[in-house]
Point group: C2
């Protein structure tokens, strides 16, 4: 058995003997040590030679056959296939590659005080898995193509509709709800549908960069609109070709203002008058601690100019990647067509599990628990920071995952943010969210971190800022 004594199988390796055998035979074929049409020994003979079971040899041969390295011939013997030069390395030169293979990167959790991080340790994964198993036992339809459901499973669209009606006063038919791959995909699609080089977008300034990227992707000019304590400032700046206005009325990103009812109604009037679409991103409206919420814009809108966007990334967990868009009737069809082309349906088992999770009340319980924990974390943080006497003020509290801290002295916030990052603290500079506006401060996310992390985080932040500010 010419050549086969080169095989070296090592029982101490992590890889199975079958994998080792397969790889080594493949290498022999690729390097020409076994030639096309050469007959392989019988499985029995090779098993004896290598002191392996025949099953192992047979499995390796079958795999090589499947992959085209071997061909079958009479009486189930195998010969080496007519392997093409594609499989032979070293035979020809490729141009140098721009990218070099790097080792895989470690997954890491967020460092304090990265904004918008839910605490995934609170998530009831066991309960979620029980719903998932129940959903899988219903039958195999969820595993199959379901192109009729590229806007999401009907059961999920209905459950989301009921939740939004009860919690935010949203009124729509469930067919107007699209399930998306996070709210990011929803925003991207809206940019593609509604914007272009001659259809510009109003954006809060400072505002959410994830949305800005979507409008820029659609090549739309961006018209910044100042914000104050009542949210986006009206009247809007002139922009003849504006076709969309993006707004975060529950909790302005990043400053935190809640838009007043008066301004909400005025904004709706303007939108109707000018034919503007309003994209209402209600990104962390679920986390209200102290106050009765203002009604959503969508619930106040008589004329269906509001597109309501939300996500389960922050209420459940970001790795799930499910969000939703509530569409005005005339946008349902165009959105559905784009969704069918962009991806067809998303992952269906997750969608069905989420529907069951919502319907069972488990979602509400989880949200209540998160709200309690997050409220306490925000209070703890504010107490600790107050004790430190840092030149940071927090004018808007009592709501949401993030707090904007404004410097009460003249400071270049990007520099402080960089110094803090070196000390292991992630707090983006408020100016980094600004277009024309000028704000100096830091954005703190408090929800993703346990009390101990908040304590050590505030310590580290205080030490760094005292040193860096020379106070």
């Amino acid at each position: 058995m010419r050549g086969f004594d080169q095989l070296r199988l090592d029982r101490t390796q992590r890889r199975t003997l079958q994998q080792q055998l397969t790889d080594q035979l493949k290498a022999m074929i690729q390097e020409g040590r076994l030639r096309p049409s050469e007959k392989l020994p019988s499985t029995r003979a090779l098993a004896e030679e290598l002191n392996l079971s025949r099953n192992t040899i047979t499995a390796a041969f079958e795999r090589l056959h499947d992959e085209g390295y071997l061909q079958g011939c009479e009486r189930s013997a195998f010969v080496v296939g007519t392997v093409t030069r594609a499989f032979r390395p070293g035979e020809r030169q490729r141009p140098a590659l721009a990218v070099k293979s790097a080792p895989p990167r470690q997954l890491m959790g967020p460092r304090p005080f990265r904004p918008a991080q839910p605490d995934v340790n609170l998530f009831p994964m066991k309960l979620w898995n029980r719903h998932r198993m129940r959903v899988l036992r219903r039958g195999n339809e969820l595993l199959q193509y379901q192109s009729r459901f590229s806007m999401g499973l009907d059961e999920l669209r209905q459950a989301v509709g009921a939740y939004l009606r009860d919690s935010r006063g949203i009124r729509c038919h469930w067919e107007e709800i699209a399930v998306t791959g996070g709210s990011q995909q929803g925003l991207y699609m809206l940019g593609q549908l509604l914007l272009g080089p001659e259809r510009s977008a109003y954006m809060e300034d400072p505002g959410y960069p994830g949305a800005r990227r979507c409008w820029e992707q659609a090549k739309a000019p961006i018209v910044p609109v100042p914000v104050d304590d009542g949210g986006i400032c009206l009247p809007l700046p002139d922009a003849q070709d504006a076709s969309l206005l993006y707004v975060t009325p529950s909790h302005q990103f990043p400053l935190g203002a809640r838009m007043s009812l008066g301004r909400r109604l005025e904004l709706l009037r303007i939108a109707q008058q000018r034919g503007l679409w309003i994209v209402e991103d209600d990104y962390d409206s679920e986390f209200r601690f102290d106050s009765v919420p203002q009604p959503s814009l969508q619930s106040l809108d008589e004329f269906r100019r509001v597109i309501y966007v939300g996500s389960f990334s922050k209420t459940l967990f970001p790795g799930l990647r499910l969000g939703y868009v509530v569409l005005p009737p005339e946008l349902v069809e165009p959105f559905a067509r784009l969704k069918a082309t962009l991806e067809d349906h998303g992952p269906l088992v997750d969608q069905a599990t989420l529907a069951a999770f919502l319907e069972s009340g488990a979602f509400d319980s989880h949200l209540r628990r998160c709200r309690r924990v997050y409220r306490e974390r925000q209070q703890l943080f504010l107490e600790l920071v107050a004790q430190k006497g840092l030149p940071l003020v927090f004018p808007i509290t009592g709501h949401g995952m993030n707090l904007a801290g404004h410097f009460s002295i003249e400071v270049e916030d990007t520099r402080q943010s960089a110094a803090l990052a070196e000390a292991g603290i992630d707090t983006p500079a408020l100016s980094s969210y600004c277009n024309k506006a000028s704000r100096s401060g830091l954005l703190f996310g408090l929800t993703g971190f346990a009390d101990g992390e908040i304590r050590t985080g505030v310590e580290a932040m205080s030490t760094t800022l005292v040193k860096s500010l020379g106070i």
Copy 2:
């Protein structure tokens, strides 16, 4: 306790008493039967009145508080919140809606002989779930935002790279692999990156409609290219502004041709010469039954003009919605930027589970099993059809999920397809995939159906065709 005797709780209902109580209190507030600032009875008093546990009452009150229907006041009593008009139905008129709420649609499995349906009953879901649980036990990082991984988890990109290298001779660095929401999302993104109104796309004619939709979405003119038994016909028709060519060389969709090695090399030469990108959709190359595969275009390509697209929808299950794109080095950065805007990372638990499934060898075993079963189904179908003596010929067999059957007599295939659909048989007309080309026949998918379904399907088809063709 004015009004509270209106509450009607029914212990025989599917909804819990707490849910019923919450809903009815909400309705009382919405309809004004409970007025803003009105004080609610104590939980103790209401529990006695309704003969419920205090816990139930407390839970209902807390939920209503969370949703803003109630406000807390002194000594943990509740008053009705200052509910805004948004929550009150019937107070104002909305314009009529274009969409009416319909009952949810049933999920259904495919009918014979719908093309491109894997048999999800073969999928080892228990084994998959074991890998999933192991992955979840590693820690909670998979649940968190991981925006550095918007091109997919590194471990999955590496596992896909190893699989493609071994099975299809693909050579790339793992950083050149993008994980996408099915191959459909990959094709959509390529259209957005590489096409436009003045950058047209060559398409096989007949060809794959899912790809065509993506090019049309990018507003690109489509230049149809005829196909014959050797795949796409060369030289290509003139098209000055063509920037992309889409091709299915392993198993031309829908006719089934395998592109000859000579033509592959010629196509690569043309692409290099003209600066064309080749999109190689290797959509069911995993299911070769009889023959050694031709090398993939990507493996033959000296100049990195080939973009290799594939999916796990057909090898695992479509509901998973994971695919991949192997990019030339210069497209990696633009693709990554678009992916970050379009959706950020996809579902991470599924990605990590798939990586483990690939690395463990479970994927290879599953594929081998499917290949055996699918080969037998194709043989069975061909035997049964031959026995019927129908005017259908199948010139290309031995590969893939689908078989193109050509009518050997003059027939309007769309009419036969419609007649078959009425009889419960889904076989699209070949002409429905054509642009300029003219083909008359039917496309049969055989992989998604057990032997019994194939038998009854062929019976039903034969009966219908005999009647409809008058033979």
